[in-house]
Subunit: 337 residues, 2 copies
Amino acid sequence: MAKAICGIFDCVRCDHRAKGKCSGCVLENHTVLAEGGDACGIYLCATRKNIKSCAVCRDAVCSFTRNLEMVCPLRGRLEKKRCYSRRLSEHFDQKSAWVRPESLPKIPEKTIDRLQSYLLALNEFISLGVANVSSSDMSRKTGVKDYLIRRDLSQFGEFGRPSIGYDAKRLRGCLAEILGLGDEKPVIWVGALHIAAEPGLLDRFSDYKFRIVAVADPNPEHFQGQVGGMEVVSLRQVAEKISETGAVGAIVAVSDDLAQDVTDLLVRAGIQGILNLAFVGVTAPAGVCVRNVNIVAELLTLSFICRRTHEANILDQDRADIAGPVEAENSTLSASA
Amino acid sequence: MAKAICGIFDCVRCDHRAKGKCSGCVLENHTVLAEGGDACGIYLCATRKNIKSCAVCRDAVCSFTRNLEMVCPLRGRLEKKRCYSRRLSEHFDQKSAWVRPESLPKIPEKTIDRLQSYLLALNEFISLGVANVSSSDMSRKTGVKDYLIRRDLSQFGEFGRPSIGYDAKRLRGCLAEILGLGDEKPVIWVGALHIAAEPGLLDRFSDYKFRIVAVADPNPEHFQGQVGGMEVVSLRQVAEKISETGAVGAIVAVSDDLAQDVTDLLVRAGIQGILNLAFVGVTAPAGVCVRNVNIVAELLTLSFICRRTHEANILDQDRADIAGPVEAENSTLSASA
DNA sequence: TAGATTGTTAATCGATTAACAATC
DNA sequence: TAGATTGTTAATCGATTAACAATC
């Protein structure tokens, strides 16, 4: 029986390996084992993704230990057995050895949004031929404070090296991995108008590995049953189409009055995430993620902020005027008493 | 000389009246004085908008005092004069008499977003014929906690009555006022593709008093110089068109590579707020508000959240499995030692 | 070794939640 | 008066900022 390459677990007999995935892996390790020989998925995952490994790589300190608990949920179990504990402590530093997180740490949405801007910045740096970037380099490009960048990144692992910074290409790879840019994400688009108008739209989404696998519309006949080379099905066929294509996400771009009905339909058909582009918000039961991108709402918020900034400026000006020329008092105002 | 109707200020001689607006008014009082007779703008504003007034309305306690400082920036000045202080304290309760806010309180964007959902909820209640709604009614409809609704609203004034709730129509009016739904907001649209595709789009914006006063495009010839009954001008003519139409806001719906250039162009032309719909973010100098509505970014964030929820569930399941059948240990795993 | 830069721990800030006095 | 509901004050929570030890 082949010994596991990492020297700690007998991965060959691990049922997680048999399942072809490491359940807790935040780095979407789902397909690694399918290709592997005798090496365990954790090792393959770590090296493939350029993440420092523990027992194999040459780095003196394993920087992956902090996340190992996530990568393999069996670890906590092994540590409690005396026969394994010695080997474990040989390979992993003590501070994280007995920590067992109750659940995956919650990542705020704001952080995710920022990760995306880091990715864009890295693309620029790489196209400029920069090999290493520091958090302050990225801060200048993105406008996000350097310590916040470091803090955001450190939630997912240790990607940088003190005094050197981050390897731009490696970090880009890791961010793409974290954001799931590498995986195909099958999506159904409901409401064919936008696609009909902008033929290149589907391709633009596929750049980010969102593959529009189906298009539906309340009135497929308006489009002669097809747009951009794709069949347009009716709302009645949506559920069937979803199970056929395996779509997990949906973009809802129908009229305001249909938005909620279409959402309900999609939820019943088992869609897990919905992006709603109508001018009204929609809701879904717990377990289904919904994001409402309401352009009118954004515009209203924008207009509110503009107006308020404007008024605050005028108010400040008035205050300055009053504080300044005191003698002007009598000329501009008198009491009614 | 006409005495001011509120009995406190001699508004007729107030230079703010001459200017035709009350600078600090959060309720967009800018046009009130133009129509008024001898009554001061503050009084007109308060009654017209159904906000409780102080010296004229019959309510024993003036609930508007908290905001009066904002409404008329001259108040603080008058209070410091002994001859006015008695009259002031007759009309306004003591607790707010000497408070002088340094600036307009900052309203978080999240609050603005919520105000819009309150407005939608109120519309529903009103269409159902409901006259009074409590914060818990609204909470049920919007999903926002009742105390948060009350807190949000109280930042703009006192709109409710204890034990009765909020007058639905009145509150709707106030919210519309606060959000600036009553005012025409002239906007220029750059990138004609969306409009060409969706002929009714401009009308949908005008429902919220966003009036698209001009349309520009990098290639106006693609549209034979017009879409939806509007002339399409080239990017070169944008600045001219903006000053001609008085557009204060802009919607940028051009290709990713042009988005930043168009933004810069608009900023130079004096636009105050920009809504960017490209798949990349744009930046503008301080003083210009920018909102990036990046659909791909939203979709990525959505997909991240879905995936993470999914993985957290699996992890929990695994933990439950491990905690449960201990005897299964030897059958699924063995050590390599 | 000195300077630079990371990842982490402690302090601050802001938003939400809870509690409650005031009011109808 | 009792019950309901507001607007506000205090407590909690979470995110950002600052400070710094560890590392290269």
